[in-house]
């Protein structure tokens, strides 16, 4: 299951994570984000234990969205060892998303 990330737990859950973290920046009103949700969850299941999946609601977490200069959602970022390794903007199919993130 994806972890809900806020400014409070971002460091703990994402930056200090032992495994790479996929962070999904999304919002309830964004149709493409809602379509991407289940795809991200599938990836979480496929890579159970090897990759963590986190979700940032940009409505509630404007500070995080600003910090990573999110200009369009959905944006998916892959964090490795505490820093962003790759970023994908827009709705993609599962295989393409995995490839473009470089998982």
């Amino acid at each position: 299951m994806p972890v809900k990330v806020t400014t409070e737990n971002f460091e703990e859950e994402v930056l200090k994570s032992d495994v790479p973290v996929i962070v999904d920046f999304w919002a309830q009103w964004c149709r493409p984000c809602l379509m991407l949700g289940p795809i991200i969850e599938e990836i979480a299941e496929d890579y159970d234990g090897k990759i963590k999946v986190a979700k940032v609601n940009v409505d509630e977490q404007g500070e995080l969205a600003n910090r990573f200069r999110i200009s369009s959602i959905p944006t998916v970022m892959l964090f490795k060892d505490g820093s962003p390794a790759s970023q994908v903007i827009g709705l993609l199919r599962k295989d393409d998303l995995i490839k473009r993130l470089g998982i």
Partner: protein, 287 residues
Amino acid sequence: MTDVLVVGGGPAGVSAAIYLKRYRKDASIVMKDRGTLGTAGTIENYYGFPEPIDAADLFDLGIKQAKNMDIPVYEEEVLNIESSLSGDFTVKTTEGNHKARAVLLATGSNRARLRIEGFNTYEGKGISHCAVCDGFIYRDKQIGIVGSEKYMAEEFDVLKNFSDKITVFTNGDELAVDVDAETIVGEPLTKITGDEKIRAVHTEKGSHDVDALFIATGTPSATDFALKMGAFVEKNHIVVDDDFMTNIPGLFAAGDCIGGWLQISKAVYDGGMAATAINKYLRQKKQ
């Protein structure tokens, strides 16, 4: 409620409507202009026409053929398409709303682009094609929107929910709609500048600081609709399965907007095949 609303009146859209009619489905066409065929000049490689045919004439003949078969053709501009939980669709046009059980996108491949320096650089870095997707991110920020017609006004209304600081750039065109914008800039755009994100839009007369620039020129493309609805789009083409259906049940696409060979013959093929698949879909939906 009609069975199928076909958006686009070119070879793919008209062919789909004709075959849907044969399957005894109510199909209507909504179209705005002749699209690619309106500017293609003459066609010399289409089967059965030994002399070059005028592309615009061929388009008009297709519309005439549809009308002769009692297929309603609405000359309206589509502004928005919404899918409901029941799986039906509401298509909002400049004239009102149409409801349909399935929608076929067949509007060709034109997507609004600005041929100015910086456009490609800042696409996705502050340049957006979708107010409802990205507007929120620019809450209370300085927003620019390019366009002068009804689609611009539609996107402007969405952006108005997020910020009062909106500048309309008509890019040299006359403003055809009333919008309550903070600033209206009428000169043509010359370039877009920024750092890692867009910062300013320039015209011959000066520059305007922006945090985002929304593109809403002319008519929205099929790709724009698909993106907003959450359909997969790759390299500006709508992704469909073997049945010409997108990942949204009931939303189909055919012709140039799904990519492949950009030829009339292929669009006609797509239209016929999509009609067959839509007929099957509607039969199953009823059960």
